[in-house]
């Protein structure tokens, strides 16, 4: 799959974007959003295939959450279009929301309700009849191992249980598209494995899952497709294999987003190794000769910088800090 067409804002005569793909689960064209002076999403375009488990990855502040909010009708874009299952989201947003399940964050639910009440509430809000909502809620509670906690207030749940009930509330109306923001954070490995099985089953029946995550190992293991986002636009997208291009996905991600640099050695940050006094109290803790990572020296501020102090290229075998 070829890289998506990305048109930065302010660029002179931008080429026309291809029309939205009506066969895609989500088709985004030229999405833009500005918050005061910050351009959070900058002409982002993306197609998410139906039946895919799609990972959206990027550094903090890349625009992932903003993009997902705009795609799910929770944030009005400044420009661009989003269609879900071939229908423009913003022309009838309430209708679009019926086929989308967005997982709320822990602080975005009514946590004074019990687990059962929260799920039934979530279902009834979407027009489900109470009996059906109750039946589905019980199924979900069993699937997520929350049966014993069904009658407890959500505010008394652990953070992992809270994540599960939030995910369940996004699934109760059987949406065709699930949007999950960091779903496995704080979830124990056993529950995490159960959730992955449920999501894999959901995808195998034709559902589409979009996951925003920082955990590359998870994305690599679970996702069929991935998009790397930075500075509000897509750097690469496609199947996991296509984006990884033969490398480890995390390494490829780091290559794409950049920003990686050699560890800065801060003079006073020595973990108390200086026997003559506490660190950070005006004691210059110079490393022993030959100590320190390759090619680094000290600048006048006492912070090491590339270039070397006196051209020394040696490294202390015991110093693991510069090993990467």
């Amino acid at each position: 799959m070829s890289p998506s067409q990305n048109i930065p804002i302010g660029a002179a005569p931008a080429p026309l974007l291809p029309p939205s793909d009506p066969t895609a689960a989500v088709s985004i064209r030229g999405l833009c959003k500005r918050f005061e002076s910050k351009l959070a999403v900058n002409g982002l375009s993306l197609d998410i295939p139906v039946g895919s488990f799609y990972g959206l990855v990027g550094p903090n502040g890349a625009g992932k959450t903003t993009t997902l909010n705009m795609a799910t009708g929770l944030l009005l874009p400044d420009a661009g279009s989003v269609s879900v299952m071939g229908r423009d989201v913003w022309s009838d947003v309430n209708r679009a929301k019926r086929s989308i399940g967005v997982m709320p964050q822990a602080g975005q639910v009514f946590d004074r309700l019990t687990g059962l009440q929260l799920l039934v509430y979530s279902g009834m809000l979407r027009g489900m009849k109470r009996a059906e909502a109750v039946a589905r809620a019980k199924d979900l509670l069993a699937a997520f191992d929350l049966v014993d906690a069904a009658d407890r207030m959500v505010s008394d749940y652990s953070s992992g249980m809270g994540k599960k009930i939030c995910l369940a509330s996004a699934m109760i109306h059987s949406p065709r598209l699930l949007v999950l923001d960091e779903p496995f954070e704080s979830v124990d490995p056993v529950s995490s494995a159960n959730l992955k099985d449920i999501l894999a089953e959901y995808v195998s029946t034709g559902g589409t899952v979009i996951v925003s995550s920082h955990v590359m190992a998870l994305v690599e293991r679970m996702c069929t497709h991935v998009a790397v986002i930075n500075d509000g636009h897509v750097l690469a997208d496609g199947t996991v294999a296509e984006v990884a291009a033969g490398e480890d996905l995390e390494d490829r991600f780091l290559d794409l987003v950049g920003g990686r640099h050699a560890a800065a050695r801060i003079d006073w940050l020595n973990g108390g190794a200086d026997p003559t006094g506490p660190a950070g109290l005006g004691h210059d803790v110079r490393p022993a000769e030959g100590d320190g990572p390759t090619g680094e020296g000290l600048d006048p501020a006492g912070i090491r910088s590339p270039g070397g102090l006196n051209g020394s290229q040696g490294s202390d075998p015991g110093d693991g800090a510069g090993a990467r």
């Binding site: 309430n94 019926r98 009514f110 019990t114 039934v120 509430y121 009834m124 009658d151 207030m153």
Partner: protein, 538 residues
């Protein structure tokens, strides 16, 4: 020392940052500054006028007034801090726990931050202005007054911080906190009505200096009012008493500081609330509401009304008003009905900020694509059902208290008043369905009802009055009818007509409110979510 100054600077940095975020906060801040300037101007005017020709003879009465006024102000500040202003959540000690600041230094920083806030600065300037009142008693007395001003502010601040720290530390479980919050609120309301209760309305509600002199003499030895007694001790040459009172004030400040520091330590070491886990069996009230999206909203609202002390206390207000006005109305039995009307208006004021109490949870219904009208219907169903029943019971009680119960013309009049109250209530709830989508001010989080989001005090002082004034406007047809029919019935016109007019007025505004409120909610739902997310981060 640097941490203390940094925390003090932090307070103003946060205040300015909050004001910059929202034009409404700026409006509230401007109003607060204007009110502060008015208070200062009023104090100066009082000092100039009342100090004219003040001598040792007339100073005795002035002393009583000032001592009682300071005591009342001190109690009000403490209670107000607990309920409305509270412990600023932005400067909550929990926020500083990672920095490892010693408890004493942290408490000192929080104290200094409180002292450099607008209310404390305003109080200091007002008290300094009042020092001019004693100019007729000699320069020494004026100097003592000037020195007593910061002592009074420091004592009030110390007392309120100590009480607040104790309340939040010792009420360890959620239930205990909720109960404490409600008890404090009731106490506050009863204390506020004490003067009128002592001197009932039939006596024109005035208290003579002679009546309160014994109280003033006692209060002058308490930290609540000792600071304002100091100048008069100097005027009388009672230096021993002056020193004694200074000692009382110093010990009070030290003791309060020690308590607050202890509470900081207690909070830090016993973090994590313990208490019985809250359980409910099955769906509860969900089964008793209509099987529809609006029914889900109603069920959720009822559950929250039971578990949310912030909302629960508003439902205590009508009872408190009825009791207070009933007691005050000795000799004027009809006064009890004022309590009923006031209760209805305050219930409507609460409903005008209903979305703020939902907080970020409102996102669930936005994600679900719930139509705004369904939300408004769901809420109105609950408000109307609970509040109407409540008001009808209140009317019965008021009729009993006011002797309108015993039949005849008075009973008919009581029924008319009850219908008018219901009409006012319905109109207020209808108006609230519109205003709650437009004017939202931050409220304390549900698990910290004592806390105060930054900037809440300013908005909370202004927005409810919009509902109050609006409520009067939307019942204009009823008001006009009252005067046209000469509501007392003395003109021989059929005042019973007021009842259907009021009910129709109320129903019409209610229906319009649900309709328009629903449309406004649909259009503004994303903005409302953003506002509530922002308030949650305060």
């Amino acid at each position: 020392m640097s941490e203390i100054l940094t925390i003090a600077r932090l307070r103003w940095a946060l205040t300015f940052a909050t004001v910059k975020r929202s034009s409404w906060q700026l409006v509230g801040a401007t109003i607060a500054v204007i009110l502060a300037l008015q208070a200062v101007a009023g104090s100066w005017f009082l000092a100039v006028t009342e100090g004219e020709g003040l001598d040792r003879t007339s100073a005795a009465d002035v002393r009583v007034t000032m001592v009682c006024a300071l005591a009342a102000l001190s109690v009000t500040v403490i209670m107000f801090q607990l309920m409305v202003i509270g412990e600023g959540s932005t400067l909550s000690p929990r926020r500083f726990v990672l920095f490892g600041i010693p408890d004493r230094r942290l408490q000192a920083g929080l104290m200094v931050a409180g002292l450099v806030g607008l209310p404390a600065i305003c109080a200091l300037i007002c008290f300094l202005a009042l020092a001019f009142l004693c100019r007729g008693l000699g320069p020494v007395v004026v100097i003592v007054s000037i020195l007593a001003a910061p002592v009074a502010v420091l004592t009030m601040m110390s007392l309120s911080k100590a009480v607040l720290s104790l309340a939040t530390s010792l009420a360890s479980s959620q239930r205990a906190q909720n109960a404490l919050y409600l008890v404090v609120f009731i106490l506050f309301m009863l204390i506020c009505s004490l003067p009128q209760t002592i001197s009932p309305a039939a006596d024109a509600g005035t208290l003579s200096v002679a009546q309160v002199r014994p109280f003033a003499d006692i209060l002058a030895f308490t930290p609540l009012a000792a600071a304002f007694q100091l100048p008069f001790d100097a005027a009388n040459g009672d230096w021993a008493f002056l020193l004694l009172r200074l000692l009382i004030l110093a010990l009070t400040c030290w003791f309060c500081f020690a308590i607050s520091t202890w509470c900081l330590r207690h909070l830090r070491l016993s973090e994590g609330r313990t208490g019985a886990r809250n359980k409910a069996h099955g769906l509860g009230v969900f089964t008793r509401m209509p099987d529809s999206p609006s029914g889900a909203i109603s069920a959720r609202l009822v559950i929250y009304l039971r578990r949310d002390p912030r909302q629960l206390l508003y439902f205590l207000l009508p009872v408190i008003f009825l009791v207070v006005f009933g007691i005050q109305g000795r000799g004027l039995p009809g006064l009890a009905w004022q309590g009923v009307f006031l209760g209805a208006l305050f219930l409507c004021m609460y409903t005008a900020n209903n979305l703020a109490y939902d907080g970020p949870g409102i996102r669930m219904q936005v994600m679900a694509g719930l139509p705004g009208k369904a939300d408004r219907k769901g809420r109105v169903r609950v408000y109307l059902w609970i509040m109407s029943t409540y008001m009808i019971v209140e009317c019965f009680v008021a009729a009993f208290i006011s002797d309108y119960w015993w039949g005849g013309r008075h009973l008919a009049y009581a029924l008319v008043i009850a219908c008018v109250v219901e009409g006012v209530l319905m109109a207020g709830i209808g108006l609230a369905q519109v205003l709650s989508c437009l004017l939202i001010y931050p409220v304390a989080p549900i698990d910290k009802p004592f806390s105060s989001p930054q900037g809440r005090a300013m908005a909370q002082g202004f927005f409810p009055f919009v509902q109050l004034l609006g409520n009067i406007l939307v019942v204009l047809p009823t008001i006009i009818a009252f005067f046209a029919l000469d509501g007392t019935g003395a003109g021989g016109r059929p005042e019973w007509l007021l009842a259907p007019i009021a009910l129709v007025n109320g129903l019409a505004v209610l229906a319009l409110g649900v309709n328009w409120g629903g449309r406004i909610l649909d259009r503004r739902q994303l903005a409302i979510v953003a506002i509530l997310d922002r308030y949650a981060s305060l």
